[in-house]
């Protein structure tokens, strides 16, 4: 995967397939050395311990289960390439929490990519899911919550093209606010 937005698009498909109706995407910059931390949290059906252990192995998992393939192994690879790591915690019936860490200044750290576009597409294709998007850095914080947006919409679909464009622009502004001057690719 070329950038983080593609990983987000890919990994959230696992949450959707797990029947989640609440998905949080948290992206933060923290620590010394500075790490870029991506968290994806869902309330889907979860995985048992054995499954979580196997889920990062592309060969074992793709052979034993049809639901899992290369998505997580590729994210693990992207994190490892940038001196980071991947952690997955899950509980059957409760949900899954995935955390990928990247050393920001590592030469192989993948860029953010077009995150506003990815989020727009996720909301458009899955309007009934409650999405929470959070960005944070030492500079600032940003939150977008689709349940909150729906309160203002009065029955207009969140998948309406003008609403989606507003969401995309709002997220783009959020990224500039939080990561401008923090990540090289955001000015």
């Amino acid at each position: 995967m070329k950038d983080l937005s593609l990983h987000i698009l890919d990994i959230t498909q696992n949450s959707i397939a797990a029947g989640a109706d609440r998905i949080c995407i948290n992206l933060s910059v923290k620590g010394h050395p500075q790490m870029l931390v991506l968290e994806i949290l869902d309330n889907g059906k979860g995985m048992d311990e054995e499954f979580v252990r196997e889920v990062t192995d592309p060969f074992k998992t793709s052979r034993t289960t049809r639901n899992v393939g290369l998505g997580i192994p590729l994210l693990l690879q992207s994190a490892n390439m940038a001196g980071g790591e991947l952690n997955i915690k899950s509980e059957p019936g409760k949900g899954t929490a995935l955390e990928a860490r990247f050393n920001i200044n590592h030469i192989d750290r993948i860029p953010l990519g077009d995150i506003p576009e990815t989020i727009k597409m996720l909301i458009m294709a899955n309007p009934d899911i409650s999405w929470t998007i959070r960005f944070s850095s030492p500079n600032d914080n940003f939150v977008l919550d689709t349940d909150e947006i729906k309160q203002y919409l009065d029955g207009v679909s969140i998948a309406n093209s003008d609403v989606l464009e507003w969401i995309q622009n709002t997220i783009a502004d959020g990224i500039k606010l939080v990561y401008g001057g923090v990540l090289d690719e955001v000015n």
């Binding site: 990815t118 309406n160 709002t170």
Partner: protein, 122 residues
């Protein structure tokens, strides 16, 4: 947050227009968005569908995602469902092909045979 006022204005505008568009026949475009599709460029394809529909002010077509359709070697893949439920599977897509599908299949109701799975497998 970008102004909530803007959002409210969009809502009011849309509520006014909504009654005109109700009950029209719905077509659906479903883009394969599993790891195989994403790695092959499905994101650009989906965005081209959305953008082209918006440009042409077409509101009665929904664009959604699905998992792996099972023909990973032919990704990016998209399925177009007509109002009657008839399905056309398009393969090896890119943004430009997506725009042509909107123009020819969605607007003019003419299947773009050369992009279909039938043509690719021949």
């Amino acid at each position: 947050m970008k102004s909530i006022e803007e959002l409210k204005a969009i809502r009011d505008r849309t509520l006014k227009e909504m009654s005109i568009r109700d009950n029209e026949d719905k077509m659906r475009i479903v883009v394969g968005m599993a790891t195989c599709g994403i790695a092959a460029g499905a994101k650009n394809v989906m965005n081209a569908f959305i953008d082209e529909l918006n440009k042409r002010n077409i509101n009665n077509v929904t664009v959604s995602m699905t998992g792996c359709i099972g023909i990973c070697r032919l990704e990016p893949v998209a399925e177009v469902f007509d109002a009657t439920g008839e399905k056309t599977t398009y393969v090896k897509l890119d943004a430009e092909k997506a725009r042509r599908i909107v123009a020819e299949h969605i607007v003019n109701q003419k299947v773009v045979t050369e992009f279909t799975v039938g043509a690719a497998e021949r």
